[in-house]
Symmetry: D2
Subunit: 381 residues, 4 copies
């Protein structure tokens, strides 16, 4: 009988980064792939992942509506609760042999907790990293609920083992999203970029910036002020810019309000705003960008391989290993502006192998197909 592997997708970026793994799982003869889509991934105004998946030949086995309006900490906490209750029902009906979750968003803790309580082994991708925000706590809590660990680098692998996990079940196969970058020759076009999104046209055959700055959940109340520093810097630089809308998280409403108010009252006519872009186009854009600005993890991971210069703002990526392409700055217009100028002057970097390994997706799929499963965890001294 085929092993039933249930893959959980809870955001657009999560889908993008997992596509190679999904493909390997789908073509593995010993695996029956189940896909559960929940959280912001089913909300159309955050990018329609369901149609995207369908276009890519994947079937959604269950859809979970769980995201409470509010964009604050309370909404996030209650959403996680609703999600835990809903994932339980779904897993109880699908009866998977393994549930696979990825990274550290709050929906991920819901899914991992549901599976663990139902005695279904949990596989966790990207554990052991260190960052800021509530993600830092969630990621390690998921590690302690999970049975199989796919870290993206050796330092993280060692951390997971140090936390008491069985080293036979902790793997470092590299980061699947970097394999996607390495295997493909993604390109973004002016035509496409200026078809999606709103705001000014941007010519990406010339020099341009990308901005992707998400709220920091442990800095509630300050996210609007923080985004305004970036807005001011971009406003003053007048360099053509592609700006990505923030993820849903506690604090999203603060960031969104900051951007909306600035857009209404100030001139940002060199900026194009985009809510969702397929991963192929995002990588294409990243490869040609003069600088990526903000606090996206793509600045740490994907950019280490594409060599894109990054200005990383604030605390969200604190603790993650960095390649040579990154300059860290605080929430400060002047610092941000100067760092962008410095990065433009310095130019593109060499590809780093900090997070990249060939064969990531296949190694993960093969392991999921063949590893001996267990339910009762026990701390390894």
């Amino acid at each position: 009988m085929k092993r039933k592997i249930c893959f959980v997708i809870t955001s657009k970026i999560h889908y993008s980064r997992s596509k190679l793994i999904l493909e390997e799982l789908k073509k593995n003869k010993n695996i029956e792939l189940q896909i559960v889509v929940g959280g912001s991934a089913i909300l159309e105004h955050y990018g329609d992942v369901l149609s995207l998946m369908e276009g890519d030949g994947f079937k959604c086995d269950a859809k979970i509506a769980m995201t409470l309006e509010g964009g604050d900490s309370l909404a996030m906490a209650k959403t996680a609760g609703i999600g835990l209750s809903e994932f339980s029902t779904v897993f109880d009906n699908l009866k998977p042999d393994v549930v696979v979750v990825r990274a550290d968003r709050y929906e991920v803790l819901s899914a991992a907790t549901a599976a663990a309580y139902l005695n279904i082994p949990v596989a966790h991708i990207e554990g052991g990293d260190i960052t800021g925000t509530i993600d830092e706590s969630v990621r390690h809590a998921v590690t302690k609920l999970a049975h199989i660990h796919f870290t993206t680098n050796d330092i993280s692998r060692n951390r997971v083992i140090k936390m008491g996990e069985n080293s036979d079940y902790v793997f470092n196969f590299g980061a699947a999203e970097l394999e996607m970058v390495a295997l493909n020759d993604f390109e973004a076009t002016n035509e496409y970029i200026n078809y999606i999104g709103v705001g000014s046209e941007v010519d990406i055959d010339k020099s341009y910036l990308m901005v992707s700055q998400h709220p920091v959940t442990t800095e509630i109340g300050q996210n609007r002020r923080n985004i305004e520093e970036t807005l001011e810097a971009i406003h003053e630089l007048k360099i053509p810019t592609v700006w990505f809308w923030p993820n849903i998280d506690a604090g999203t409403s603060e960031v969104a309000k900051g951007i909306r108010a600035f857009r209404e009252n100030r001139n940002l006519d060199h900026v194009r705003f985009i809510k969702y872009i397929p991963p192929e186009e995002y990588i294409g854009l990243l490869k040609k960008a003069s600088v990526l600005v903000g606090n996206s993890s793509s600045g740490i991971k994907e950019s280490s391989y594409t060599g894109t210069p990054v200005v990383n703002i604030g605390t969200r990526q604190d603790g993650r290993m960095r390649a040579e392409n990154i300059v860290d700055v605080g929430y400060n217009k002047k610092e941000i502006k100067e760092a962008i100028e410095k990065q433009i002057a310095k130019g593109k970097n060499e590809a780093s192998n900090l997070y990249y390994q060939p064969g990531t997706a296949k190694n993960i799929a093969d392991t999921l197909a063949n590893i001996k499963l267990y339910t009762q965890k026990s701390f390894k001294e």
Copy 2:
């Protein structure tokens, strides 16, 4: 302004074991004590904790109904989800400075997760222990969400630090429930024991057994068969016995069904069944018992200090430090019976200080009142 400390109670035994700490928190001048009662603690047929608390002079600031019927894994998982959503609402209204949770039941993960998402520091009592069942995963996941740790022994303290917690925030003040035993001269009387509960009268001035065997959540489907081995052993021994009803957990319905069916169809007229007993009477009973049989943590912790001989059955307490008073056996009538006979022959043990320290409750309360609080966690290498 006083620091608002919110103490979460989710089961009868949890209340019993926390009473000294609650008293210290209540009399500390720098603390405003909030108490939230949820889970099985508000269900009358599991022991009426609300009236008990009131009798002891404590006020319930919020009551949370969250326990789904079913007694299986699905009910447990969904209950945790409902709880996460409800605790979020309650904490958002009470706005505590610290939320205090204890041990490793599933409701505890709900409360800790809610507080962490709301950026409220979490204090966790009894982290770092090792046991079986899903409690093992939940306990360590709570550790990774918590900011202040009160372990009950040094081995557990070291484990918590090894998991990446800041050693300045990890304390070993001993186990509060043992301090309660040490400070009081609890006594159980025939009159009281035969007033509560159902079944036969038991004379506790003569030799008697206690049985307390809870379901093992990772052994769903086998809990009925496992309890039947114990029932058979007790049935054959014919020694007067006080039997405690199991906690609500996945698998409770299996255990309950096993006991009910045995009681209807076989003769257990030397056994008295009790659903809830106040902690004072429980300890009084434990001190005089010939043997405690089952898998209760009171066999590991309280009994180490009272010196009560224990026959510990199965995997639920795997990994916990043991004093000299314990004999471990499998789910097997013969093994159980022989171990009980052996323990009766051997008799009472010396008090061990494995889990006991003087001043536990006061040290915890003082620390909660004075320690510098923080929100953003970061893994200590």
Copy 3:
């Protein structure tokens, strides 16, 4: 394309009473039958409806765990909320053309509300009756959310039309549970009755009573005292009795506590207690019983056709049409005792056609298959 008819089952008795309809829906060539089972129907200790259904050749398309522990009004209200949220998810996935609900339990309002919000037409069986408890409000609220009405008698049909429903969509085909009684020659045997349940053996070849008394949700706080009057009456009469355990509802814990305490402290050794009995055996038992005592609707409906003498206690069935077989009494030991004695003296009644019509189930199924569906309701003056 076949019309997808989704039938909702939320209690054991609901399943029993709907079996003929389910069979007609299943064999209708224009219908694809979907069955959703939720509420107490999935709780094993209230009777295992899922296995029963499977044995009868029906498939459960979705299972909904929604029942909160507590047995009080709060648990009932929150259960309805959880149910509304869960039914929504299930209907959104199953995409039925019509949702069929029956009667007036709180889970029924959840299912009808979910369907109505999702723009799925709702068919309601047994609307327009008048009774006591919260059921009275729930039944009429469901009528105002429903699009197709299958009442069981003409008085109820007229009431539904008076409430503003379109008379073309309000039918009286009689009560399906009476058709089941009419079509079958059900028999209960001593062997079976004394195999299930607990307590004393009862010889049903001689004279015996049946008791079925549920809590009244609008009399919270008085249900224990009320059941005690019945217990006292049965205790004094000493006639062999088969006693059915109450449904889950607000107040169930009061009734259950009353029965349990009486059983522990007083002598009821002429009584057998049964939690669940298949409908066939129940009807078999009802046909031979000397008197049915309590407040079950089977005393009003089924007994009108079987002619069984009934002592109906209290307010729960207030307002329902009665045949000649019923004597109404208050919550009073003396009244109950005397009425039972009087009914035994009077003996069996003629079958009444008050609620019975031939062809009920087939008429309902045919209507569901062929009627023109609509979504937007509008009050008919």
Copy 4:
């Protein structure tokens, strides 16, 4: 002891329309006023009702986060379920003697159901009206759960009685929102209108239109196309316009998307968009408007008294009594445009007393303070 009256507010417009009643309840000496705020009323981007209330001297006793993201039928249905569960907890803690709900939004059914299950009498304002959308079903279902009815006109009063309600508990004191209009001399200023909202400046000292068009929940999938007809008409007319953002409801995302896309791609530089406006300014604006366009109930009720010409589009207000000020049209650019031109030509109407009575708010408050309360409903033939 004072009677505890708990008033439920679930949207900005609901607050606005209830202010006079809240004031009367607050100053009544026999009443202790409790206010519960939930649903979209606590979402800042739909207008910050909490600060507004505070500014008006009211205290929020409990805040309920319940609104699921999605803007579709599923989100609405699940939101109602979450709300039912949350209102139950809140009412169980506040223990009101009466819960007051108003109108027909989905959150209102949640609150009424929660109260009814908890045996708390429900008072319902604005029952018995007839309209389109799911509101039609919800309004009448709430009537069947409610114990006291405050209708706004005699036709509605008769309908409520016809549905089986006790006429001693069904009152027509007129519409409180019209009393507010009658008692005050509200004025809107250019300064204020052009301070709030986004888009072009509008000079309200000259002729202007107002647009307020909400989604129709039973026309899911067509709401975007429908709003586009209105957008085209307004676009062609080029008359200065104040456009109000739609309420949260199933279909809101369709309407919002239609407006956003039109705004990005077409020229609407004679239009100002407003998300929330206090009731005083709204009425001020309504009194001076040349025409109110859309499907807001303020076109039916408030405008009957202010005499504002109204072009009512589509089915949402079907069945409501109309004064002379209304022209009804379909979802059709041409019809809408011609009707607007016709209404401008005809000009302002006389005040109608169709929905207005003096003393509405005081009569409601006095009745709530003094009426004999009851719990068990029973259908009046």
